[in-house]
């Protein structure tokens, strides 16, 4: 396990990897690795939940294994699958050999024919990887129960092969958007961290970090505008990802300040407002007022 001198060191390394980290998050990440418990990260879409895993992997200098959850995700896609084509070929090739069926069966259900999916990969690495289980709330209840079992024992049973024990315990990050309420058992098993929208200073640092070409004055205006926009009644509030998109767009279009060229800027707002209702909810007069306040 890579040990860090303290949380400040972790923050620094995460920042090098491109993720501005608060001390409180660093403490959660520290505990995750020290108590060997998964960390459940919640927060609105676009606040950078998935990015944490990427930055963490890069800070620890280890591999990132990602499991994207969706409705209907099953063991075959998440844990393992047999390589049926190879198995069939192998059976064909052994046809003439004078071995018993049981023997042949043992052969084709050997490790060589096993396709390792993310969960199995994550526990069979020589060094601990970061395992990101993204949007776990999209998977079904049954999968969640299975996941809980794996996260408790760090071992996986394959009927044909027996039980595979973890060679290293991965750092497990789960993210959830709240499409479905997660089970109490899973919530209890996990440490928890809630990510809120960043405040002005943090978001400004994020923008400057990710878009080095931007001028500080424009960056300040952008962040100030987005912060104001989030206070409006919107169906989908813009996340940090949207702020970055918008900033990148403005830089590409050579716009130096939000008070120049209001018509063009109004057109670029599609980067921030992603539903028709939200676009309708903000008439030009309102955006003009918000823009004026942000400059």
């Amino acid at each position: 396990m890579t040990a860090f001198a303290d949380t400040d060191e972790l923050c620094r390394r995460m920042e090098q990897a491109g993720y501005i980290t608060e001390n409180s998050l660093a403490v959660s990440l520290m505990l995750m690795s020290q108590l060997n418990r998964p960390l459940l990260v919640e927060g609105d879409a676009g606040v950078g939940k998935t990015e944490i895993a990427k930055a963490l992997a890069s800070a620890y200098g280890c591999e990132l294994i990602r499991l994207q959850c969706y409705e209907g995700l099953d063991v075959n896609a998440a844990v393992y699958e047999w390589n049926y084509q190879r198995q069939l070929l192998a059976i064909k090739m052994q046809e003439t050999e004078a071995r018993s069926v049981a023997d042949k069966e043992r052969h084709v259900f050997g490790e060589n024919y096993l396709l390792r999916r993310p969960l199995l990969q994550a526990i069979s690495r020589p060094r601990s990887p970061v395992l990101l289980i993204d949007e776990v709330d999209r998977a079904d209840e049954e999968f969640e129960a299975y996941l809980l079992e794996v996260l408790a024992d760090y071992q996986i049973s394959i009927p044909e092969l027996g039980t595979i024990k973890a060679t290293s315990i991965p750092y497990v990050l789960l993210t959830s958007n709240g499409t479905r309420e997660l089970s109490d058992a899973l919530r209890r098993r996990c440490l928890y961290h809630y990510i809120d929208y960043p405040d002005y200073n943090k978001e400004l640092r994020i923008v400057l970090k990710h878009i080095p070409a931007i001028e500080e004055r424009l960056a300040g205006q952008i962040v100030s505008f987005v912060q104001k926009l989030r206070k409006q009644e919107l169906q989908k509030r813009p996340g940090t990802a949207e702020t970055l998109d918008w900033a990148a767009a403005l830089v590409k279009m050579d716009i130096a300040s939000l008070d120049s060229n209001p018509a063009v800027i109004a057109d670029t707002l599609v980067c921030l407002l992603k539903t028709r209702d939200d676009q309708a909810a903000l008439p030009p007069t309102v955006t003009a007022r918000l823009l004026a306040q942000s400059v």
Binding site: A3, F4, A5, D6, T7, D8, N23, S24, V27, S28, M30, L31, Q34, L35, R37, L39, L40, E42, E71, W82, Y84, Q87, L88, I91, K92, E95, V101, K104, E105, V108, F109, E142, G178, T179, R180, E181, D184, R187, R188, C190, L191, Y192, H193, Y194, Q235
Partner: protein, 394 residues
Amino acid sequence: MNGGVATLPHARRRENGPDGGPPVLAGRVVEFVRLARAQHFRVGIQEAKDALDVAARVDLLDQRQLRWGLRSLLCSNAADWARFDQFFDYFWLRPNRRKVALPLSADRFAPSASSTYASREAPPEARREKDGEDTLERVGASRRDVLTRSDFSLSQLNADTRELEQWIEQVARRMRKRLLRRYQIRASGHRLHLRRTVRRSLRYGGLPLDLILQERRRELPRLVLITDVSRSMNVYSYFFLRFARGIIDAFQDTEAFAFHTRLIHVTDTLKERDSHRLKEKLAWISAGWGGGTRIGESLQTFNHDYARRLVGSRTFVFIMSDGYDTGQPELLAQQVQQIKRRARRVIWLNPLLGREDYVPSAEGIRAVLPYLDLFAPAHSLESLMKIEDMLVRL
């Protein structure tokens, strides 16, 4: 800060404290965890042990680290997260102890209705009912027929409510059976179970002669029930809530809401086991608050706060209301359309449809008709049973 989360742990260990840390602190941490449990944080024995571990690892000179560490450990959802700081201050910052009121355990998503409702005085209907219980004796088939057909609004005047309630719950349970069976039949899809097929093919030299088929996983529908408890619905809403309770009993995955001028989440209230307290609560909810109905606004709240989590491709949304709305019909139509966009089916049950002379003339109702999969009467047991038939066919 020289916060030594990683470097300090073992140096702090003492012989008498199995999980490190000075014994005094360990005692305080245990006390804190116990109080957290009493405050409905989801904390088990493992968390208590880990809390000691956390206390041993964080830099004790930095109060923030202990706070963040315990927060990550003891919280398990956004609501916990929001109330943790206040709770932590209450316990650890002594000078504040008197000033800060202990945060309530109220979950944001499930208003703890039990305490509020139970303490209120039960409205007259509930009391009347209790008196009537003893007079009910045996039930003949003919009597059942009469009850089945009679309008809910009439039965409240008689002493029939108890039987009716039981039947309503039975209907709810039968509905579950029918829906389930339908899903099972539908689920016998033909998908190849490759692993077994390959294994079986070994004896034929790799030719997949025996195909092993597997059945598709059956999925249960999720039900969301939204009941109008405004004054115009007064005579019906009690039965609808009872019906909702039957459904909650039968389907695990059910959420119930009630509204008049605003929406409240009542699933937990309806799960009340004690029948007397349930009656009081139901009566209290269904008694309504008067002052008009805002269906549109209530559904807007629903769409805004709950729909994303609850309404999906396997969700049946039931709205039980007479459609008399004091709000704007456009808003109502827009909200129902939004629900329709997410849900598998939207069903509107209207008790007034049972009246012979009724035509859906209320502006609100006419505006939503195009978005409904089913618009059906629900004024008697018989009509509820018919819904079951229609649902299965939908």
